[in-house]
Symmetry: C2
Subunit: 333 residues, 2 copies
C-alpha cells in the first residue's frame, strides 16, 4: 500500500498549472501514540488555495517547495492509537493532498455517520462555516434586508444565500451561466439571479435591488464589487469573503473605485477569515446540520474522480466549472 | 444696511474657482414670528463644500444656480421674535454664505458666551463633532491602540488625534509641511508626525507603526489610504471621514488597491456622515467642551479677514494653507 502525495513544485504565475505540483509516492504513515491514520476519501478545493501556494505570509505560513500541498479533506480512520477515535470513525481535517495522513485527534472534526462524506464536506465543511459566520457575524442580516451574493453558485455563496433567505431576507445571486442561475432560483429558492456572462450586471443589480443592497456578500471582488458599492442601501454591510477574480492575476489590481460610497451610505466593508472562528466551529456545524436535516439547505457537489486529478480540479474551480462544492474523490490507484 | 451674499454661479470643474460664486447685495431679512435674524461673524470652510456645489444628490440636495452657497457659521442674534433666543445670543447654524440670515431657533445651537466664537466654531463646531463621533463611534479606540490620522493638522484630524491620545492611544499624524508636523508633536502632543511633502509616507508608516495600525482615521483618501490599508493591525478599524485628495479631481479615480487586506487583517472600513449624529450633538459638544475647558484639547484657527474672501478661503483650504480650522471673519463692507 502506497501513499500518493502532491507536493508544491512551483509558485503559480497567473492561473494555477498542473506543473505547479509534483506527484510522488511514499509509505503510508503508521499511527504513533495518541494519533490516528486517516484514509482521505474526499478533498476540498477552495479558491484560497491559490494564495497558500504563494510565497507570502498572510494568515497562514507559506508552503515551501516540496511540502505536501495544503488542503482540507474527509475520510475514515484506518489505524488508531487514540481511544477517542476508533478505526472506522469518519473525520474531517487539514490532511493536505495525500491519500493517507497521520493526524492528532484534537485537529479533527468527527462527522455524522449517516450523512454522505461529500455532504459533510460542503454544507458542514469549511465553506458552509464560512457562509454561516460571514453572513451572521459580519453581515448581520435582518428580516426584509436585500442581500446580494456574488459567486452565488459556489460552495460558500450558495449556502450564504440560502442562510440569508432563512433569516428572512430577499436574496439576489450573481453567477456565471444560465444553468447556475436556474439552479439558484429554482432549486435553492433565491429570489433572483444575474448571469454575469450574459447580462449587464450594473443594469440588473439596479433593477433587482431598487431600494439598494443591505448586505453584499462578496466572493469575487473586481468590477462586481464596484457595482455593489455603487448600489448600497443606508447602513449597508459589505462582507469581503473572497475575491476570486483577483487570485490568479499578476501585478497590481485596481481597488474598488466606489469605496467612497461607504461614506454617503454610512456603510461598512469588512473582511474575515473563517479560521478565526475555530472555537465556534461546533456551534456553526450544529446549526448548519439542523438546517440541513430540516430540509432547508440544498446543496450540490461537483465531484471529480481520482486523486491524481487534484491539480486539474483546482484549475476547474478557478474556471467556474463547479456547481456548489468542488471535490475530488480519491480512487485507489 | 445691506446683506451681502455669495450665490452659486457655476458647478466647479477641478479646483474651485472664485468665478464659481457670484457676490450680490440684498436687504437684511426681518424677523418673522418665532424666528431670529443672525449676524454671521464667522464662516466655516469645510472640504465637504466642494461636493455640495456639484449636481449630485449624496446626503444633501444639490444647490441650484443662484442659491446662497451652503455653509456653517456663527454669530449673534440681532433681531428676535423668539423668546428662546434674545438679542445678543451667540449661535451657530447653517446660515450659508451671507452676512445676515433669518433662522428658526430649533435649527440653531447656542454657544457658550465666554468662549471666542472662533473656538466654538473649531473645537465645538461640526469638525470637532466629526472628530468626536468618527473616532468614538466608528473607530472605537482602546487604550494602547496605534492610531494613524491623515489630514492631521486640519480641523477634524487635529481634534481626532488629540481625542485618541486622551483615550489612551499612541497617535501618529500625517500632514503637509514641517510647520504642521511640529505643531502636531510639540503643541498637540501627537506621538509622531509624518510630513507627506518631504518624507516617504510608506517608509515612515512602517517605521512608526511597527505593530500595525489599529485605527486609521482617514481625511484624504488616495495613496495614503492604500499605505494605511497595507499596514493594518489585526481587527483594525478604518474610519472614512473624508477624502480631500479626491474632491477636486475630475473623472474616475482609482480605488484603494489594498482593500483586500481587510480580509487578511480581519479589519473593517466604515464611512459616516456627522449629520446623522444631530440628535447627539449636545452630548458631543458638552464632552468636547469639558476637554477644552480642562486644557486637554489644543486648537488653531486660520482666520481670513473679510466676507468677500470666502471663495479664496475655500480654495486655500483645498491647498492645505490652513493650520487647524479654516474660518472667514466677516468685516463690515
Amino acid at each position: 500500500m502506497k501513499n500518493r502525495q502532491f507536493l508544491l513544485n512551483a509558485r503559480p504565475e497567473g492561473l494555477v498549472k498542473t506543473s505547479d505540483f509534483r506527484l510522488v509516492e511514499g509509505a503510508v504513515p503508521e499511527a504513533q501514540d495518541g494519533t490516528v491514520v486517516v484514509r482521505v476519501d474526499y478533498f476540498s478545493l477552495d479558491p484560497a488555495m491559490r494564495g497558500w501556494m504563494e510565497n507570502r505570509a498572510d494568515y497562514v505560513a507559506p508552503l515551501a517547495f516540496g511540502d505536501v500541498m495544503r488542503g482540507g479533506g474527509a475520510g475514515e480512520v484506518i489505524a488508531s492509537r487514540s481511544a477517542q477515535l476508533p478505526i472506522g470513525t469518519r473525520v474531517a481535517g487539514q490532511f493536505g493532498w495525500q491519500e493517507y495522513a497521520l493526524a492528532q485527534p484534537e485537529h479533527l472534526a468527527v462527522l455524522p455517520a449517516d450523512l454522505p462524506l461529500a455532504t459533510s464536506m460542503s454544507v458542514l465543511g469549511i465553506t458552509g462555516l464560512t457562509a454561516w459566520f460571514g453572513l451572521h457575524d459580519i453581515g448581520q442580516p435582518k428580516p426584509g434586508n436585500t442581500v446580494l451574493v456574488s459567486g452565488a453558485a459556489g460552495a460558500t455563496g450558495s449556502i450564504a444565500g440560502q442562510l440569508a433567505r432563512i433569516a428572512g431576507c430577499r436574496v439576489v445571486g450573481i453567477a456565471g451561466g444560465a444553468r447556475k442561475c436556474e439552479w439558484l432560483v429554482h432549486e435553492l429558492g433565491f429570489d433572483a439571479a444575474i448571469d454575469y456572462k450574459a447580462q449587464d450586471v450594473k443594469t440588473e443589480v439596479r433593477r433587482l435591488c431598487p431600494a439598494g443592497i443591505d448586505i453584499y456578500f462578496d466572493n469575487v471582488g473586481g468590477e462586481i464589487l464596484d457595482i455593489a458599492l455603487a448600489n448600497l442601501a443606508m447602513n449597508a454591510r459589505v462582507v469581503i469573503c473572497g475575491g476570486i477574480s483577483r487570485y490568479n492575476e499578476t501585478g497590481e489590481l485596481p481597488g474598488p473605485k466606489n469605496y467612497f460610497n461607504l461614506v454617503f451610505r454610512r456603510a461598512r466593508m469588512e473582511g474575515f477569515i473563517v479560521l478565526d472562528y475555530a472555537p465556534r466551529f461546533a456551534e456553526g456545524r450544529s446549526a448548519l446540520e439542523a438546517e440541513l436535516r430540516a430540509g432547508r439547505l440544498r446543496h450540490a457537489e461537483t465531484v471529480i474522480e481520482g486523486f491524481e486529478r487534484l491539480p486539474e480540479a483546482l484549475i476547474a474551480l478557478f474556471r467556474g466549472e463547479n456547481l456548489g462544492k468542488m471535490l475530488v474523490h480519491r480512487q485507489p490507484a
